[in-house]
Symmetry: C2
Amino acid sequence: MTTMYATPQDAEDAFYDAFEDADLERMRSVWADDDSVTCIHPMSPAIMGQKAVMESWQYILGSDAKMGVTIRHGQWIEHGDLAIHILEQQVTQGAAGQPPMPPMVATNIYRRTDQGWRLLVHHASPPPPPLQSDMPIPPASS
Amino acid sequence: MTTMYATPQDAEDAFYDAFEDADLERMRSVWADDDSVTCIHPMSPAIMGQKAVMESWQYILGSDAKMGVTIRHGQWIEHGDLAIHILEQQVTQGAAGQPPMPPMVATNIYRRTDQGWRLLVHHASPPPPPLQSDMPIPPASS
């Protein structure tokens, strides 16, 4: 049965629920089923196409580490059949009490398809600990 | 005078030319002039709004380091008035002969506006040296 997500936010909720629950089938239901989908895991090259993207999630979700994720929304841009969400995702991993990783910045792009809203692009990248980048970093401002 | 970019690629070419030439005015001409624009520099938090984004570029382009950039296109998704380009950008910095930084993955999102195609989102993140990530990284595949 095909899961229909009525809004980009419904698809996003399902994406992060699938991540937390290590639910590969739910993760599969979130992504558009075509060759244009692209996933950039934190500090990893771009993976393109639904098949390769799902293989990467099978690898990640198959890990023994129990992961949780907390979201803080930044920018929402909706325009026609595309929706762009920029957010911080704070991933916790392993036993309770373990310090969380630094928040990652993610750009999620959704498209309205015949099967409802689906994830087209997920690009996640961590901010660094201070003074570890070799690019000039501007002062944080917003 | 307002510069009109007829295609997303024209805007992208101007973006990287402005980066290489440290040309702040050309950089300004590339971005949409509104509060929804968002720029995520490599390993940096999201910067939102045209004013803050331009301040960050003023900081970067004001650096003494002469930077060059080579682009390798990955995914191009155009849908209505939005265009999404995913690419690798290899930045070279400083004196000739200095080894280049590892290629960064960038997601660039353009929108067709009354002033032509403009950059709406730039999200750049570096892939790591091997074995330095604390996320499970899937094997590179495409």
